[in-house]
């Protein structure tokens, strides 16, 4: 099968699934009796609606190619960073470092991916950004909770720009025998992460009994993680034909993505709680903010990228 055929086969399946999900959501909304169940179902339907948008955006990405994909993820980073920093109290002296994060770091990071400069893309923010930002903040002269302020800016930048940029960075991997098909690798990553999220939510709602970390995220349960996670691994393994991996290799990669994604969701929930918020924002209807959708991607993408690079290049 060609790249085109593979992409549209997978998308066809996703669209069919979404259609079924939308139908189920519609029937459930007709049958809901109590207020609380109506609320759960309204939330479910909002999530399904948002999924349609995400799939549409992925298709546009695929049709328009590499530059459009990079711009789209740059925009996602922008919104995610905006959310993160909105919840993070900053002082007057943080203005210049914040300006640098938005107007220099984001374009630079995605431009480096665009021109295929792996060496600088991988160290630009963790080395130069890490050192430059506190120096610039110090020049502002405000030492009041200096360490906390710089830490929060660094965290935001690493998470929302550096980590998320690893997803489109999959396009710059040169896997022998897989040339020109890297968009499928991106599709694979996003599908496994998001399906894992959805299935963990569904399994948790249906069978969830034991909370995993009640103080961090009350909705995460052992049953949800195991049931949803294993199902997502099965789906990922079943997609081996769009990847450069064997069947078992693909199962292993999916497991890696699921675990990293789960840990990302958990860690970022803790960050969110410590900032005193329930959702990162209200950007996506029913999904909270951009970071509520990308929390697992931000952890899964860098790990997946580097393991693929190590294993296959």
């Amino acid at each position: 099968m060609s790249l085109q055929q593979k992409f549209w086969t997978v998308m066809g399946a996703v669209l069919a699934l979404l259609l079924v999900a939308s139908l189920v959501g519609w029937v459930l909304s007709l049958r809901a009796r109590s207020d609380s169940s109506r609320e759960v179902i309204a939330n479910l339907n909002a999530r399904i609606g948002a999924w349609w948008w995400m799939v549409a955006i992925l298709c546009v990405c695929f049709l328009l190619g590499r530059v459009a994909t990079l711009m789209l993820f740059a925009l996602a980073s922008f919104f995610a960073l905006r959310e993160f920093l909105t919840l993070t109290p900053a002082r007057r002296g943080d203005h210049l470092p914040l300006v640098l994060c938005f107007y220099l770091a984001i374009p630079l990071q995605y431009w480096l991916i665009g021109i295929d400069w792996y060496g600088l893309f991988a160290i630009c923010i963790p080395v130069y950004g890490f050192l430059l930002l506190p120096a610039v903040t110090a020049l502002g002269g405000d030492t009041e909770s200096f360490l906390e302020r710089t830490t929060k800016i660094q965290w935001g930048l690493m998470l929302t720009v550096y980590c998320i940029s690893y997803a489109p960075a999959l396009l710059l991997l040169h896997v022998p025998g897989y040339e020109g098909q890297n968009l499928l690798l991106l599709l694979y990553l996003l599908l496994v992460v998001q399906i894992s999220d959805v299935l963990q939510y569904v399994f948790g709602k249906l069978f969830g009994r034991h909370q995993l970390a009640p103080s961090v995220s009350p909705s995460k349960t052992v049953e949800g993680l195991v049931g949803g996670g294993l199902s997502a691994v099965a789906v990922g393994a079943g997609l081996w034909w769009i990847t450069p991996f064997s069947l078992w290799g693909s199962a292993g990669m999916s497991l890696l993505i699921v675990v990293a994604g789960f840990l990302g969701g958990l860690a970022l929930s803790a960050v969110k709680r410590s900032l005193g918020a329930k959702d990162w924002g209200q950007l996506i209807d029913g999904h909270g903010g951009m970071l509520d959708r990308l929390d697992s991607v931000s952890f899964a993408a860098p790990v997946f990228f580097h393991v693929v690079r190590y294993a296959l290049m």
């Binding site: 960073l81 905006r82 920093l85 909105t86 109290p89 900053a90 007057r92 203005h95 300006v99 924002g281």
Partner: protein
């Protein structure tokens, strides 16, 4: 029209400017929206947070010394949000400084006003100047709606050139009216408290 749309798009991209109608509904009646003032983005954020239909009939009151000097800023003020200029410099005033505001109200438009008169570095507003009281007295038909803008003092603090994109929530509170025989001080305090309670 195009300028206004582009401007709203840009403001949404930069600072979100999502409106939350807590104390009143977004109805097309004549209003004077008054808010705390901490950055040059305030005018744009409040104006962009209004639904399109209301936005078309609402004109922000803008300082002539900042928005009225031509160039890009002047273009945005004239063609983007149709500013009503107010002269802050006492030396250059001729006659009644509130005259242009009254004219806009008489023409049926709503106004956006920052009664502090200048930007404050703090999240909470400074005491209000008398302009709001005089407008309330002369135009009793206009509803006075308290508005609170959060985050913007961080997005573009006094003295900065570029805004940092941070999500701003625009909270619309309840409508006030000047009570019969209410004196200036107590009215201005009441208006101030209405903004503060949204913070």
């Amino acid at each position: 029209m195009i300028t206004a749309r582009l401007l709203v798009g840009l403001v949404r991209l930069l600072v979100g400017a999502h409106g939350r109608w807590l104390g009143c509904e977004p109805k097309p009646v004549q209003r004077i929206y008054f808010a705390n003032h901490s950055s040059h983005l305030d005018t744009l954020a409040l104006w962009a947070a209004l639904p399109p239909l209301l936005r078309q009939r609402t004109r922000p009151v803008a300082a002539r010394d900042y928005w009225g000097k031509g160039g890009l800023r002047g273009f945005i003020a004239e063609h983007g949000f149709r500013a009503v200029y107010i002269e802050r410099d006492r030396e250059r005033r001729e006659g009644d400084p509130l005259e242009p505001l009254c004219a806009a109200l008489a023409a049926g438009d709503s106004l956006i006003l920052f009664p502090e008169g200048t930007r404050s570095p703090d999240p909470l507003p400074q005491p209000f100047k008398a302009g709001l009281y005089h407008l309330a007295r002369r135009h009793p038909q206009a509803e006075l709606v308290a508005v609170y803008l959060d985050t913007l003092h961080r997005a573009m603090p006094k003295g900065s050139l570029l805004p940092v994109p941070l999500t701003c929530m625009v909270r619309f509170g309840r409508a006030l009216q000047l009570a019969e025989g209410e004196d200036k001080e107590s009215f201005l305090q009441r208006a101030h408290a209405a903004v503060v309670e949204l913070a």
